[in-house]
């Protein structure tokens, strides 16, 4: 968006205006068809001034006053045709109304014009947009752009668009070539196009009379479908792992506080939120420096420490007094969560705040068209793995871990052999909370950060721990990944909301079959 803005500004400023007044007037005063014709004409001109005008139309800055068509930015106006300043601003102006059809046309036109931008990313974005809704009128422009294009990625996309357009109008040879090019694509829309060629009309004849083209299309379709199927599978796999890693991060902290310590912490989600807001604050601090891209290096420990501090305070002030009374703990921690939410609302406002990705995390690896693996998610998967390993090492290899395990297994005994149980409780709770903070830091990179952030994860994370079995780190991992997969597979089949409901219902039934979770120990001590 920022790039787009600078370009349009640059276009606006360069101001070599010499547009056909009739065309401009048609855009300003004409009906829908005339407007579309005018847009097509402006695109054909392929001129920066035309781009500026269309950009203004997109941004709703186009107004008419009397017989003039104006581009109005704030209190300043210029004549859309000549680029001359119009002062004073005419009192009576009317917005140029663009209906949805015209807006769609505008979008395509803007994209076509951006193909000649010097910036690669802009061209790539424009080429991508055009693959869906290019228009015959743009064919010359696309050819022109292709001739000068050097980037392979952009070139491929443009060739595809060109093929799509030529399929409709070209000679037999160029159409067969177009069908072949289409077969190389990985775009799901291309499939529709090829299917269109093979379609039978009602009378039994083919929509495409030429048999050679049909055979070619059949071949292309087959190749395309195979590739798409793989792409889809890879995509589902990736999003499943990604969701699983997020659930894992959200649940790992709970695996300590609930799974090991048996404390029902309903404020866990809010500790995640604390981590996310800490990341936001750190990001803001770094914004003024030159090291913005490195802010995560500071945000990760900061969010851990912030959430851990809040968690330890909670443990000392509230939870400590409620050990052995799980239902009361549940209510009290819910109260804490409400207060944390309101605190954040008071400090940061009720609106979501923006946390920007550092440069290396924006964008992604594109497997196929439509199957993008965003870097942010890849980083988070790795991060979740690292947190898991770190936690495992901490619990099994350090003295604190030894103490935590001792206290959770046999408190009086641990106390007898000199383990400071109260302090261990606080530290362990702090550790679980800190991990929640890390989850918040990670979540801030891919989702909205707002006061309600935690509420949306609390049910999910409890489900993970409950499903995985109390006190089972391995169970938590399997449950998180399993839920991620189940959610995404069902989602592909039935939509996101129904998938979520189905998973919840499944868990409800599962718990009733195996109340102790997947990996529970069976023993007589369980419900003594």
């Amino acid at each position: 968006m920022r790039i787009l803005l600078t370009i349009s500004l640059w276009l606006f400023a360069s101001g070599a205006f010499a547009l056909d007044a009739a065309t401009v007037n048609k855009l300003g005063f004409g009906d829908g068809d005339e407007k579309i014709a005018a847009i097509a004409a402006l695109v054909a001109e392929g001129d920066p001034a035309a781009a500026a005008l269309l950009q203004a139309a997109t941004d709703g800055e186009l107004q008419t006053a009397g017989k003039l068509v104006l581009i109005v930015k704030g209190e300043e106006a210029v004549n859309a045709a000549t680029g001359a300043k119009v002062t004073p601003l005419p009192e009576e102006r009317e917005d140029v109304i663009l209906n949805n059809r015209v807006r769609r046309e505008l979008g395509g036109a803007m994209a076509a014009l951006k193909l000649i931008s010097p910036d690669r990313a802009t061209r790539l974005a424009a080429a991508k947009e055009l693959t869906g809704n290019a228009d015959q009128a743009m064919l010359p422009l696309i050819k022109k752009a292709l001739a000068s294009e050097t980037d392979a990625g952009v070139k491929q996309l443009l060739e595809l668009t060109q093929a799509t357009l030529e399929l409709k109008t070209g000679t037999k040879e160029s159409r067969i070539a177009a069908v072949r090019t289409l077969g190389l694509s990985t775009n799901p829309n291309t499939k529709m196009l090829l299917l269109g060629i093979l379609e039978k009309s009602k009378e039994g004849g083919y929509a495409e009379p030429d048999e050679d083209i049909r055979i070619e299309a059949q071949k292309s379709l087959k190749a395309l479908e195979g590739r798409l199927a793989w792409g889809e599978r890879a995509g589902v796999l990736f999003t499943s792992v990604s969701l699983g890693s997020i659930l894992l991060l959200a649940a790992l902290g709970l695996a300590i506080t609930y799974g090991l310590m048996g404390v029902i912490n309903m404020a866990h989600g809010e500790l995640i939120m604390v981590g996310a807001y800490t990341t936001y604050v750190v990001q803001n601090l770094f914004k003024r420096t030159d090291f913005f891209d490195w802010y995560l290096l500071a945000a990760v420990p900061a969010s851990f420490i912030a959430a851990a501090a809040v968690g330890m305070a909670l443990e000392r002030l509230v939870i400590r007094w409620l050990y052995g009374r799980p239902l009361e703990t549940l209510l009290a921690t819910w109260g804490i969560s409400l207060m944390l939410i309101q605190t954040v609302r008071t400090i940061f406002g009720a609106q979501n705040v923006q946390v920007e990705n550092p440069a290396f995390m924006s964008g992604g690896m594109e497997l196929l068209t439509g199957v993008v693996m965003p870097w942010s998610r890849i980083v988070i998967i790795c991060f979740a793995g690292a947190v898991l390993v770190g936690m495992w090492l901490l619990l099994t290899k350090t003295r604190l871990g030894l103490f935590v395990r001792a206290v959770t297994q046999n408190r009086p005994m641990a106390s007898c052999v000199g383990v400071p149980t109260a302090r261990v409780d606080t530290w362990a709770f702090g550790l679980g909370s800190g991990i929640a903070g890390l989850a918040g830091c990670a979540l801030s990179q891919i989702g909205n950060v707002g006061p309600d952030l935690g509420q949306s994860y609390i049910v999910d994370s409890f489900m993970v721990v409950v499903l995985g079995g109390v006190g089972q780190l391995a169970g938590t991992v399997y449950a998180a990944l399993g839920l991620g997969f189940a959610n995404k597979l069902l989602e592909a089949w039935q939509g996101a909301v129904l998938a979520k409901i189905a998973v919840l219902v499944f868990i409800i039934f599962f718990i009733q079959k195996r109340p102790q979770g997947m990996f529970a120990l069976r023993g007589r001590a369980l419900d003594a």
């Binding site: 109260g335 409400l338 309101q342 049910v459 409890f462 919840l504």
Partner: protein, 360 residues
């Protein structure tokens, strides 16, 4: 008896308080609202009638919650779901009563017209019948509670596990009701009611009638709950709460006991929801949010669980405070509510009633 649980329905004092309450609901309130002119200082405005009616609905829910939590030891975090289901069941009837007076002047509810539906989905079958919907108010929450409870109690899911699962249940239901395709108006739910039994709903008389019916239901619920808890059934219930193993080894099938009180409690919540909707004038999936259900628990905790008066006091205090705060200092209400949660669990484990009892 010096110890143990009372076997009498009420003592003379209890009956007297109940009679006073009846006078207030069926005598004083209607007179002050309908007969006393609006400019008199004794006039009770429509705002107060609605607010008190609403709080009485909450009080019914609180008593139902107390039956399962205070007496049987089952902390449900999903009672808001049963409340909402009752509300939606009756809301369907109210939507049908709008007739063609909606925004689109069509015989179907506005949201269906908006979604371009041509006929009623199956859930709406017979929904123009008052008695059908009144039956749904009882059957839908009851059936859901029965099925859920049957599986949960039979598999011995209890304590915090059960609480979390009930929370997941209401969360899932909320997501379901947010969908337009579910057929209950999506996130806007039902609103803009016009009539009930062909009588205009917004008149002072109808409002007062609904208020009085709610009051009667509250008294009925209270008596029913009191009778249950003073019977041997009630003593078994409390025994299950304290030592379920022992109760089983005494030969009681605890699953049936829990299932009975659980289902009954859900039905009472459904009825409360059905009374709530015409008075408040709206029902939407927000009522199913986990936060709402957990708030019910705090009403009971504030008042004192295991007593029947406690939940009434708790529901009144918390909701009274909520009405005051959300008008006077809206930004501090969550702080206040959060503090209530924490302070009550830390310092008033037996609630206000326990505190009063100790002072005596």
């Amino acid at each position: 008896m010096t110890g143990g649980i009372s076997r009498r329905l009420y003592g003379p004092r209890g009956w007297a308080i109940l009679a006073l309450f009846c006078v207030a609901v069926f005598g004083v309130m209607p007179v002050l609202n309908l007969a006393v002119p609006a400019d008199s200082p004794f006039h009770v405005s429509a705002y107060w009638v609605t607010l008190l009616g609403k709080i009485m609905c909450y009080a019914i829910v609180a008593v139902a919650m107390d039956l399962v939590w205070g007496y049987a030891g089952i902390l449900s975090l999903g009672h808001g779901l049963f409340f909402a289901l009752g509300g939606y069941s009756f809301g369907m009837y109210l939507m049908r009563q709008i007739g063609s007076d909606g925004q689109y002047r069509q015989p179907m509810p506005d949201f269906m017209v908006f979604l371009d539906w041509k006929e009623f989905p199956w859930q709406w079958w017979n929904s123009d019948s008052f008695w059908w919907c009144a039956m749904l108010v009882i059957v839908v929450p009851g059936l859901l509670a029965y099925v859920f409870g049957y599986f949960a109690f039979r598999s011995r899911v209890k304590g915090v596990y059960l609480s979390i699962i009930t929370q997941a249940l209401t969360f899932a239901a909320m997501l379901l009701f947010f969908r337009n395709a579910t057929g209950f108006g999506g996130n806007n739910g039902f609103t803009d009611f016009r009539r009930i039994l062909d009588i205009p709903i917004a008149t002072p008389q109808t409002r007062m009638a609904l208020f009085a019916i709610t009051g009667a239901t509250l008294i009925g619920t209270l008596l029913l709950a009191r009778w249950l808890t003073t019977s041997r059934f009630g003593r078994v219930l409390a025994a299950i709460r304290d030592a379920e193993q022992r109760v089983m080894f005494c030969g009681y099938d605890t699953v049936h006991y829990k299932l009975f009180v659980w289902t009954l409690s859900a039905v009472i919540c459904g009825v409360a929801g059905a009374l709530y909707v015409p008075q408040v004038g709206i029902i939407n999936p927000g009522e199913m949010s986990p936060a709402n259900s957990i708030e019910i628990a705090i009403w009971v905790a504030v008042g004192g669980r295991g007593t029947l008066i406690g939940p009434l006091i708790g529901a009144g205090l918390v909701n009274g405070a909520k009405s005051y705060f959300t008008q006077a200092f809206p930004e501090y209400w969550l702080f206040a509510l959060g503090l209530i949660f924490i302070l009550v669990t830390l310092f008033l484990p037996q609630g206000v009633m326990g505190f009063l009892g100790k002072k005596k």
